[in-house]
Amino acid sequence: MNEENNEEINRRDFLMKTGLWLGGIASLTALIPVVGGIFAPLLKTQKQTWRTVGLEKDFVIGTTSLVKFINADPEPYAGTTAKSAAWLRRETPNKFVAFSVNCTHLGCPVRWEVNADLFMCPCHGGVYYKDGSVAAGPPPKSLTQYMVRVYKGEVQIQTAPLPLTNLNATNS
């Protein structure tokens, strides 16, 4: 009688544990693609590429102009969000500088005030000189620059991630 009872308890215990383990495994297998889908942006290598933004001859020396380009790897359904912009300055015949439009304070789009020779941010009042260095306001560092090159008479910019300001930058 006792033995039978023990057997019954062992059986129940085994089945209960099997049920819990199986449930755990089933949930885990189902969760892998869920987590994968949500965290995919961390796993995917983010591409960078050179984009032509205009012809070398069209940029006047000493001027700054807005250039637009398509991000490195936009989704087919990205629409207008596939676009980015940069402020391109031709300093000398051979020297181009491209600034990110994102203010280094909190990322708002800075605008080039052509007569004042300044970049100004509409959000919290950040101001930069024409070389991208901070002129006034809360920005902790100069405007971030893109890589620029001239290739067969075309000016090209290397796409880059949204420039993030981190703790180190704010301390320097």
């Binding site: 990205a78 969000t81 306001g137 991630p161 981190n166």
Partner: protein, 465 residues
């Protein structure tokens, strides 16, 4: 027995609705719970309004980076009553945030978070943060220029978090930049994840109200003692308790109905905020501004010293959450009456004044250049007869951007000092020094002005006395 009654009887017998719901409706509550107890239910009704109007909006909305903006244009300008629907959802969000805040203040002032209601407070703190997150993600879903740039601003804030900031920002945007995935992610957060969390926590919050009872209106000198409170509360309910429905619930019903009516009226007569430019990150002439409930934070970013900013962005929210969650453990017994807890009342007042002041200054944004300021003219300065150098100075004052930040008369921005009477306090050489060298808050114009331009500007400014 009529047929209807028979059906009702059958349903009740098979489902047990009455025996489940009646005790909840009729459960005894402390007497004297007056109008200050209506804000929680008003928040709940605002949430229900958000769920219903949110579902209706989902019938019309396209959650795609490419088309969301067009569908919002459609909702706002073409869909039948779409504008009103958006308006209700907008003012409903405002209502939910306001009443959640007022409810929280009431609970704090009357110390209802003390024993045994600590978990009510804690679940409420979570609900407050979920609600604010809903408000913010909802603003992004408009997916206009404001939505795009606001997402950039949030990504930048996350980027300031030490070590993992870069990954947080990338998770938020679904990539290294704003792109096709960004909106889908905000949509999933706003429509699935946070509503689900809110449902769960509201369930817990209300279950706890039934389990621990509504806190009785406090009386000075009647202390909460965890050892005796539950028994005392039970006896008090037995002696003096009144049935929740209808004795206490009629106030909730009336107040919440008025709130919903007010929201609908605001939606009809004021309507939702107009959409800004299309969601194109290459359109840089944007002027990103959050909705009013995020404005205090926006203002804080402009006003706090830049060298502490990275720490405040990261540590500020953590400290706030830790403080709010630990409150019922710091003080969970003793006096509840605001009459005996003047510092609590004072603290709430301080928070209200602080947030209110930040909101007002945020709406004004005096730190931002006024790009849309109308150019000063020699006519409105009565300088038509002045020499050409002075007149050129007036022109330069606008074109060089001085006027974006400095006011003269009724024209110009508020960031820098008002220069209407600048010649009364500064001599010409002093003005030149300021303009050429700038300051921490003003660019050094030395490299950007020719000698003639500087002379013209200063000559014009010297007429301002």
């Amino acid at each position: 027995m009529s047929v209807l009654k028979k059906i009702a009887h059958w349903l009740d017998d098979r489902t047990g609705l009455r025996e489940t719901l009646l005790p909840l409706l009729k459960h005894p509550v402390p007497p004297g719970a007056k109008w200050s107890y209506v804000f929680g239910s008003a928040t709940l009704f605002c949430f229900m309004l958000q769920v219903v109007t949110g579902i209706a909006l989902a019938f019309l909305y396209q959650p795609s980076a490419e088309n969301a903006y067009h569908s919002l244009q459609f909702i706002t300008h073409e869909a039948t009553l779409g504008n009103t629907l958006r308006g209700i959802h907008y003012f409903g969000a405002s209502g939910m945030i306001i009443f959640a805040g007022v409810h929280m203040m009431r609970v704090y002032i009357t110390a209802s978070y003390k024993y045994p209601r600590e978990m009510q407070w804690i679940s409420g703190v979570f609900l407050l943060f979920f609600t604010i997150t809903m408000g913010f993600t909802g603003q992004l879903l408009r997916w206009d220029s404001n939505g795009v740039w606001s997402s950039v601003v949030v990504a930048e804030q996350m980027g300031r978090v030490p070590l993992i900031g870069k990954y947080l920002a990338r998770l938020l945007l679904g990539g290294d930049t704003i792109g096709g995935q960004s909106l889908s992610r905000f949509f999933a957060l706003h429509v699935f994840i946070f509503p689900a969390l809110i449902f769960m926590f509201i369930g817990l919050h209300i279950y706890l109200v039934f389990r621990n009872g509504i806190s009785e209106p406090p009386k000075a000198g009647r202390l909460v003692d965890p050892k005796t409170y539950r028994l005392w509360y039970k006896n008090m309910l037995k002696e003096k308790g009144v049935s929740f429905w209808p004795n206490a619930a009629w106030r909730d019903a009336i107040f919440s109905s008025l709130v919903v009516l007010a929201i609908v009226l605001l939606a009809v007569f004021i309507g939702p905020p107009e959409l800004t430019a299309p969601p194109d990150p290459s359109l840089v002439l944007a002027n990103p501004r959050p909705d009013w409930y995020m404005m205090p934070i926006f203002a804080l970013f402009a006003l706090m010293p830049p060298n502490i900013e990275s720490y405040v962005i990261f540590i500020g929210p953590i400290l706030t959450i830790i403080f709010l969650l630990s409150l019922p453990f710091i003080s969970n017994k003793g006096e509840r009456s605001p009459l005996r807890r003047p510092w609590a009342v004072f603290g709430v007042l301080c928070v209200v004044v602080f947030l209110g002041a930040l909101l007002m200054i945020g709406l004004q944004s005096p730190w931002s250049p006024h790009f849309d300021t109308k150019p000063l003219t020699v006519q409105n300065l009565s300088l038509s007869n002045a020499d050409s150098t002075t007149q050129n100075g007036v022109h330069l004052f606008y074109t060089k951007g001085c006027q974006y930040c400095h006011k003269i008369g009724d024209y110009g921005g508020l960031k820098g000092p008002d220069l209407s009477f600048v010649a009364r306090r500064l001599s010409i050489p002093e003005m030149k020094i300021r303009i050429v060298n700038g300051s921490k808050e003003m660019p050094a114009y030395g490299g950007m002005l020719s000698k003639d331009e500087l002379d013209a500007l200063v000559q014009f400014l010297s007429t301002r006395k």
